[in-house]
Structure formats: structure tokens, C-alpha cells
Subunit: 238 residues, 6 copies
């Protein structure tokens, strides 16, 4: 099977993370993975989540949305009071993924609001959101440190995410929309820079998948995340 854009099955699309993309938020990046473009911002609020008040611990929470012009057919806004189920799932995943590497005691009683606004969608928006949001979150923490509010950047590792899937029985990494819509198996993997898993979400809606396929997909994901961790670190340190 040849990929539409000529990539090898183990190859990511071109990745670009633009730092300091907006002037107001504490941290903000534009992440581009091929044609997929997401603005990820991190805003710090000086109170923690309600259930943590008085514990000395902070919180990280995320929201995800797509602008109407981001998709092939105009996406309706969530204005009837019901955030669509897919968005709910995605923003819960982003929040969990980032929280897993934050030391909430060192963050202190603050909330970091992560917002991932997709301005162009071509597959992999949730994994791009996680990868970009991690950078925006660390940038916000750097600002807190510069302002003397915290002593060190309270993260225990670096988090990135990538999609993998099976198309025409071929495991692939970083599926574009056209590939994703034909995938028999679809999986999102979130990993640390130590090669450990934070989240695995694999679905065989078209057909079930075997343990052997699972192993191949996890190997592709591990290599993809490794490359993303490098790009994240360059952005943060650059």
C-alpha cells in the first residue's frame, strides 16, 4: 500500500511548533502536523479546582474545539448547550494526559486552563493537541518561574501523542484524514520521553484486531512519540 502523500508507513508528516503565537495567554503555540493546525494556549488562574481547595495542590484542565471553517464541510458550533460527545472525550483525554506528568504539589493552588482550538483539521487533531498543549503548558510554567511564583518547572517528564492505525491491513503512523476515514483499526497513544505509556485508546470499529497487530502499532507509536519529544524539547529550550 502506498500512502497518498508518498510517506513510508513509519513516517510522520512535517511537524512545526511555533512558540509565543498569541500575546495574551501565559503560553501559546501553533502546532502544525501536515495540514492539521491547532492553536494551543495555557492560561493560569490563581485558584485551584474546587475539590482541591486547601490541599495545596494545583489542577490542569483542558477544552477542545474546532472552528467551523476547519473541516471539509462546515462544522456547526456547540451552541445548543451540548458539547458534542467526541469533543468531550478529546478534552478529557488532553487533560488526563497533561496531569499525569505534573507535580500538583509543586504547581501549588493554581489552575492551568489548556485550550486547543483547531483551525484546520486533516486527521490527528487530538494527538497534535496533546503534543502542542504540553509545550504551551511548560511555557506558562516558565513564566510563573520567571515571576518568582514557583521555584522549578513542576513536570516529571515530557508528553507527546501520535495516532496509529491499520489501513488495508497495513499498520501506519500519523494518519491524515483520508487515511483515518478508511482505517479498520484506530489507535491514539500518549507516551512519556521514558518510553512509558500514559494512555492507549485503541478501537476496532471496522473489525477486531489481533495481539500481533497491537504490537506493531505500539512500536510505530513509540518511534513517532520519540521524534515528537525531540521537537518539543527544541521548541521549549530554543
Amino acid at each position: 500500500m502506498e500512502r497518498t502523500d508518498g510517506r513510508q508507513h513509519y513516517q510522520l508528516r512535517p511537524v512545526k511548533i511555533t512558540n509565543d503565537f498569541l500575546i495574551s495567554p501565559h503560553g501559546s503555540v501553533l502546532i502544525e502536523m501536515g495540514n492539521t493546525k491547532v492553536i494551543c494556549t495555557a492560561c493560569v488562574e490563581n485558584t485551584t479546582a474546587r475539590h482541591l481547595t486547601g490541599t495545596g495542590k494545583g489542577w490542569v484542565t483542558a477544552e477542545y474545539s474546532m472552528i467551523p471553517g476547519s473541516t471539509a464541510t462546515r462544522k456547526k458550533r456547540d451552541r445548543n448547550g451540548k458539547t458534542d460527545g467526541r469533543s468531550v472525550e478529546i478534552q478529557r483525554l488532553i487533560g488526563r494526559s497533561l496531569r499525569s506528568v505534573v507535580d500538583m504539589d509543586k504547581l501549588g493552588e493554581r489552575t492551568i486552563w489548556i485550550d486547543c482550538d483547531v483551525i484546520q483539521a486533516d486527521g490527528g487533531t487530538r494527538t497534535a493537541s496533546i503534543t502542542g498543549a504540553f509545550v504551551a503548558m511548560v511555557e506558562a510554567m516558565k513564566k510563573l518561574k520567571e515571576d518568582g511564583e514557583i521555584d522549578e518547572i513542576p513536570v516529571t517528564g515530557c508528553v507527546s501523542a501520535v495516532s496509529v492505525g491499520v489501513v488495508e491491513d497495513q499498520p501506519l503512523v500519523d494518519l491524515c484524514y483520508e487515511e483515518d476515514s478508511r482505517a479498520m483499526v484506530d489507535m491514539n497513544v500518549v507516551m512519556t520521553d521514558k518510553g512509558e505509556f500514559i494512555e492507549i485508546q485503541g478501537t476496532g470499529e471496522d473489525r477486531p484486531f489481533t495481539p500481533a497487530e497491537l504490537n506493531e502499532l505500539l512500536a510505530l507509536a513509540a518511534e513517532g512519540c520519540r521524534q515528537l519529544h525531540e521537537i518539543q524539547k527544541e521548541t521549549i529550550n530554543g
Copy 2:
């Protein structure tokens, strides 16, 4: 580590599936896994999902809810127009899991509405819902066949689900609520009776998990699902 209820780490809680639990729905079961109790019903509607009208294909969709008295502290109802994020995630999972083994062409332009109403919650409500809902769905299909509406039961396999997790660094199967609340890693696995995966959702919110731990958890899940498939088949054929 000893489990509160004296089980081995690889042992399921007592499982009981009561068939024909209610008089009205086409299929209805009460599934009990330890203290967790869920009413699963399957109601057939003679139109398919809107996006499938005219294709000859059917649809399976699911809703999940907990009655207020099911939890240790009273669970507020979803009456403000926002189904809570966790319920949205769960009911989407139930729907996907069942659809993966249904032959929609053979079902024809019908919708099977699955409802999972938790009346007592002690951990593992989403996996119990899937296991019970599969039985209710097949019962509804049997009624369609008896009524001469379809020629054969349009399923390609048997689906069950179980939770696994890591508690005090020990992988366990079928966690009760008390174990679940202390779990470092939490995973739900949906499998067919051929030992293939339909869905894997693993989260390390407390700490990331290693590839070795992943393998142990998947082995426990495979054995748990195997036992559940047997009980499902007894119920359906019994």
C-alpha cells in the same frame, strides 16, 4: 497485596446474568458482578439511523445512566441538559463495542437501542454494561428472528469486557470500587470470543505504565473475557 474480598489477582467476582428481566423491551437482562448491578435492555425501532436511511443497513446505539441511589453518595441526575462527560464516554464505548460484531446489512434498516441503567455501582459498571448489553441485544435479535423479520442472528462473534488495573504495583482483574479508587493504572478491555481486541482503553493518570505491565494486564483481561463469554453463551442458549 491481599484483595479486600479475598480474591486472587486473576479472579473475577461472582457473575450472574438474569435473562428476561423486564416485560416490555425486546431483550432485557440484569447483570450482577459482585455488588455491581446493571439493567441492560435492547429495544428495536423500525427505522435505521438517519445517515443510513436507504442503505439497507441497521444501527446499534447505546445510552448509559446511573440511578441516584446507585452510588455511595447520591448521584445527581443529568437534568440540566448536559450529560456528564463520563457517561458520554461510556455510552459511546458501549455502542462501538456492540456495533463491531453486528452485520448491519443482515440487521436491515432497524435501530437497536441499548440502555444500561446502573442500579448499584461497585466498580466495573461500564464493562458489566457491555457484557450484559451483548446478551440483551442477542435476545432482541432472537425475537426478530422468531417473528420472521430476519433470517439469522446478525452477529459475527461474542463480545465481553472486563476492567484490569494496577494497585500497589500489582496487576489485578475486575476491580471493585475500593480497588479502582486506589489504582495507579486503569484499563478497560473489550474482546471477542476469538481472543481479538475490540477496544483497549488504558490510562495511567496516577503514573505512566511500562510495556511489561501492559502485557500482564492484557493477559489478565484475556482470561477474564474468556470466562465471561462462557457465561454469556450459557445465558443465551439456556
Copy 3:
């Protein structure tokens, strides 16, 4: 006129109240009147209603819902933010009926949340809810007394309810769904064990009713409630 199930016009369906039906709530019963089955729970919260804060008085409030599989055609859930008008009426009636026999000063600044979840509906769900909820409420109060939080059970009487109606010009007690759907006059009566009225709601949507019919209906209701009070007392004392 003969009744479908062979009952006399003055006869209740078989009644069964199962106490301690669920493990979490302070009080919980399953009430069955024929095929009608309702789970009634009572959960105690240690704050009173907002408008009573500081008065030393408690509060009792109720919610009513039907699971989708409880009715002949699947009942849609109230998930668009609008509780349907019928449910609003019913839960207000349940709350008022229970409050009328509670000594709010003796209850103290607590709220008792009553939940009536119908799992199977065959007519008379609102009256069965009241009859069952009274038992669940008293069970919750007994637990409060055992825990030394109150000195005595703060109720001034026993409350039960029954439906009556006119079908083919014949007054009947405890109508099943099939009778209810043909009723010309429909009435719900809530009474104390002293033979007094707490609530009378009579409607002649199909045709008006005469004072003579009203008297017959009230006599049937009084006898029905008397029998229910006996069953309630056996359950509570048993």
C-alpha cells in the same frame, strides 16, 4: 364490567415491598404493585433547603424518573434539559405528600432526598412511588436514630396512595395501564392512616364526573390506602 386480571372493582393488585434493596442509600425499597415496580431510595444530606438555613428545620424533596425500558415503547431520557411536565407534576406530588407528615423541627437541618426510579410501569407508578417512598424515608430516619442523630422518628402519621378511576362508568381501584388508558375519570388519592386526606387529584379529561361518582371513588381509595398502610407497617416493623 370484568377486569382483565379477574380482580373485583375494590381489589388491589398483589403488593410487595422489599426492604434494604440497595446497599448505599440510608433507606431503599423495591415496591411492586402487580407488574409496576419502583425503586424508592432515601438519602440524607446534612444541610437543609436553602430557604430554611438557620431555622432549625429540615426538608424532604423528591425526584421521579422512568428508565427507558420500563414502558411498552422505549421512553426517551430527559437529557435535553427539560424534565417532562408529567414527571415534574409527579415529583412535586411525592415531595408534598411526604412533607405533610414530617415534623421538620424534629428532623433538624437535614435534607432527605427521595428518588423514585420506575423500572417497570404498568399503571399507578406515582401512587406506588409515594407508598414505597414513605417506607424508604422512615428507614432512613431509623438509621439516623440508631446513629444518635435524632431522638425519635419525626413522622406524625403513615402515608400511602392509590389510584382510582371510572372505566366504562364503573369506579375501580388500583388501575393497571390498560384500564388507565381507557379511564373516563382518573383520580389519585393520598391518605394518612387516620383516614384523612393529604392530596386529592381528580381529573375528568374524557368527561366530567358527578358528586355521586366522587363519593364512590373516595370510598374505594380509603379502603385501598387502609390496606397499604398495613403492609407499610409490617415492612417497617418487620
Copy 4:
């Protein structure tokens, strides 16, 4: 017990029904009972309720609302998508009461929308709404007849309503707000001009009531409704 406004216990407040109060609706009246003032309008739509389409039958439905300035402390508008429970109960009562005297076959496939907008509230707004809405409905029917759309006014009787209650153990008719707020027992009675009951809603939230009290209250209601029927007929024929 003396009434604040010097009335006897069996005396209604001054009643005035102004016909043709607004220019647009098919029927519209302003009803005043003492200080209680309600605008009742009837608008005809040329389709029946959805569940009646094709049956040849019409429908009557009602909505009830209070303007914010109508009450002693400003009443918040129902703008959060939840009509408050009390309004839901009231508008269902108004609709049922009017439907009970309409011959839906003779009305034909039309809907009459009744709107009761309270502009000043001093007790008895729901019963004044019913009494006024009946007149507005008949006026709308007269217009349909004048326009040759129907052959006769499709009503089988005249409907009025009045509140009764027990204050300081004294049964009273047509309670003003101050009396209503002190009532131990509160009852609304809807009757035809043949002395039959359409609806009885009696509540003893403060204390239960005896059969003897019930009889006294019903007698007061019957006389009150009789007087209201006369005023309605004068308005309609005048």
C-alpha cells in the same frame, strides 16, 4: 375569623371580564378578580396537534406565565430553558380543563393556543386563568363560525374555576394572596355549569384534612363556580 377585606367566607371578590382586550388574537380578555389580573388570549392555528393529524380532530393547549412585575418580589423570567414546575402544573391544568368541554371533532384539525399572562397576582391566578381562558376560547370559536369555518360553537358546557381553602380552620372561597399564604389546606376546583367536576386538586401540605372539611370546601366551590358561569355567559352573550 374575619377576612382582611371584610368579605364573608362564601363571598367572591369583585369579578370583571373585559372582552376584546387586544387587537390581534382571535379571542382575548382581561379577567380581574380583586387585584388579580390576567390577560387570556386564544389564537387559532390551522393545524392540529401532531398526534392527531389525519384524525379530523382538533386540539386545545395552554401556556401560563407571570410578568416579573406581577408579584410582590420581582419574579424571575423562565429564560434558562426550564419552565418552573409550578407553571408547568398550571398550564397543564388549564389545557385539560378546557379540552374537557370541547368537541374536538366539531373543532376540526385546528389548534387553539391559550395564553394566560398574569400581569398582577393576588392569589387565585390559575383559577382566574381558567375562567378567563374559557371566554377567550369561545370568542375565538365565534370568530371561526362568523368566518364560516365551523358550523357551531363546539363546546359541550361552560367551565369556570375557583380556589377554596382552610384558613385558621375556617373554610373560605376565592382566597387572596395573604389568605392563601396562611392556608392549611388549599384546593382548586374546576366545574361545569351542570354542577359536575372537571378537576379537583386538594392539598393539605400544612395538615391533612377530614372528609367533613372536604364536603364544606366542595360546597363553597360549587356556589362560586355557579356565579362565575353567570358572569362568563353575560360576557359572551353581551
Copy 5:
């Protein structure tokens, strides 16, 4: 062009402001401009808007609504949780217009709730609302002064509003509904009694308008507002 009701292009419809229209609100008027009738009430609450707490400043806020029977075809109520866009615009305009002449320091930490409920609509309901609401607001302030809560009426000027528009290329003042529906240009002007502007909202949805037309419209509006200021002052002082 001749106007349907024979008015000159510079002539207002008959204007009548009835003071003390309702018994409960601090201020309440019925304003009639031709067939347009609006009840305007002003209720005082003893807390200011949240963002002003502790500043010593008060607040004025407004809500606008039409009863269903006020329009030629029945107006649906805003009961789905979405106030319609037009009402939102209008009530924001009413609030801004009144606030522009209130000395919030002298009002003190109070909120004046303005409610404009249209009972009959024949064009110009938003401008009639402003003109009437100003009177109701001043009446409420007079009551505060009588009660010794404030030392002087905290307004810096008198506010009225009028609609102007271009119909068949002819600038007109105070358009009735029939004129408004044919208007090429539509403008609402809010002015003080010193001839200054508080708000100008001009729209050429049908066609753009020239600077010369703008000047003519503003001159008509100025004269209309001048006449309304006189009537307002008579009502307040009368």
C-alpha cells in the same frame, strides 16, 4: 406618500403614559403609542451588580419580552433557554440608555431591575420601552427618596427614544408596524432633553442611506424626542 393613519411625516402617534399601573413594583407605567402598549416596571433590589460590589455604585439592568398575544401571529415564548437575538439586542439597548443618565454613586449599591413587557405590538416597541422605562425608573427613585434611602433623584437628564425611517424614499417619524415592514432604512434614536445623543442605531438593510438622509432622520428624531420629554415630565410631576 400618505401615511395609513393620515399623520404628517413629522407627527407622532397619540402618546399616553399611565403612572402607578401595578401595585407591587416600586415604579410601573403603561405606555401607549398608538396601538403599541408596553408595561414598564422598575423593581429595586438592595444589592448592586456583582462586579460593582464594594464600590458604592449602583446598577440598572433591563429585560424585554412580548406576550404571545401581542403580535399579529402568536409569538412563541422564549422557553428553550435561548432568548431570541432581537430581544437580547433590545434589552441591552434599554439598559445602556437608562444607565447613561444615572449617577451610580448617588444611587448607591442598589440594582434597579427594569422590565418591559409588550402587551400589544404595532411598531416602535423598543423606543416606547425606553421612554416608558425612564418614567418607571424615576418613580422608583422617588419612592427610595420618600423612604429616606437616597437624598436626591440620581438622574442627570431625561431620556426618551423614537424610531425614524425611510419609506418609499420619504423620511418618517414613529413608524407603525405596517410602515416599519416596508422601510428601506430603519433607525432608533435615544436622546436627552438637552438635545444630545445617547444612542443612534441606523440600518439600511434594504438599501444604504446617504448623509443627507441621515441628517433629515436625525432632525425628525430630535423633534419627536423633544415632545416625548414633555409628556414624561408631565407624568413624573403630575
Copy 6:
């Protein structure tokens, strides 16, 4: 008075319109006015608004939203089912402004959906939205013409908009956020390239404004719009 960024009172901020900003919509631009940045997209749907079906006429409608990271303090999303009042006003203004220059008969039974998503807000977002949306709309129309769906671009003129206001008694054009927050008078003006007005919305919330001030503001607006029309034409023709 000197402006923070050194501009003259009649000077616009640097303006840049990037065409073809996104790949999916029929038309899409990024408009930047100083730090204000808005993505404007135009998507064509092949049905007209419901009230125009069968008339041969098309429709243009607009939605406006700000991403949370666009403002100095994080802007909450509209997810509770209530679009905030300010957004409602703005999107109605955008829609009206564009419709005023579209020949709906020539557009035919199509809807053009305009979406204005603010990614960075520094004052003047609604006027930038109109100016940018006009370009996106014409780009979408050019695509329809290229595809042979329409014969000519159905617009009768060019529309741009600019804000003007009075700060420290000095009339200014194109206010940035800091100026806007101190403005005594605030006005948005929408004009055609023939120097005619489409919309004027002027508000003196802080103090009323005189006819002389009005004239100065309108002159500043006319010159600002003239410059914007030139930039729009370059973008469209370039």
C-alpha cells in the same frame, strides 16, 4: 492627547488581509488590524434559508466567536447553550451588513455561512470581522462563478467597517482595546464604497454626545472605510 502607539487621531492601524488562509472553506481570509486578528470564512450551502425556499432568493448569515486565548483574561466558551448577548449583537450586525450589498436573486437558492473567529482581540473585532468577511464572501462567490454555478458576482458594492470613538474628548478612528476601554462615546460605522451608510451604531454610555461630535466621528469613519475599501479591492483582485 497622544495615542499609545503614536498614531494620529485619523490614522488606522496597519491592516493586512491574507487570502486563501484555510484549505476547506469556499472563501477564507485572515484579517489583521494591528494586534486584532480574525479568521473569516465563507462556506456555501446549496439550500437557502427556510423562509426563502421556493422564492429563488439566497441568504447570507454570520456567526462570531472568540477563542478563549484571544483576550487578556481567558474568555469562557459559550457552552451552556446561551450565546452571550454581545456575540449575538455582533453576528446579527455582520449578517445585515453583508446582506445589504448582495443581490439575493442573482445568488440563487444558496446560503453563504460566514464565520468570524477572533484569534487575537485588541479592539475593533466586529468591524475587522465585517471588513474581512466581505472579502471571504466575494472569494466564495468567485469560486461559484468559476464552477459555473452563477454568471456574475452578485454584489452591488464593497462593504467595510471601522470603529470611531471619543477618548478624553478627542474623536479617534480605529480604537485599540486600551483606547476603547476609556472611550466616552463608542461608534461602529459600516459603509459602502460609494460613501453611503449601511449601519451606524453609536453609544454614549459614559456621557451623551453632541451633534457636532457626531459629525466629526462620521467624517473620520468615512475616511477610514475609504482606505479599507482600497485594501479589500487589492486583495480580491490581487
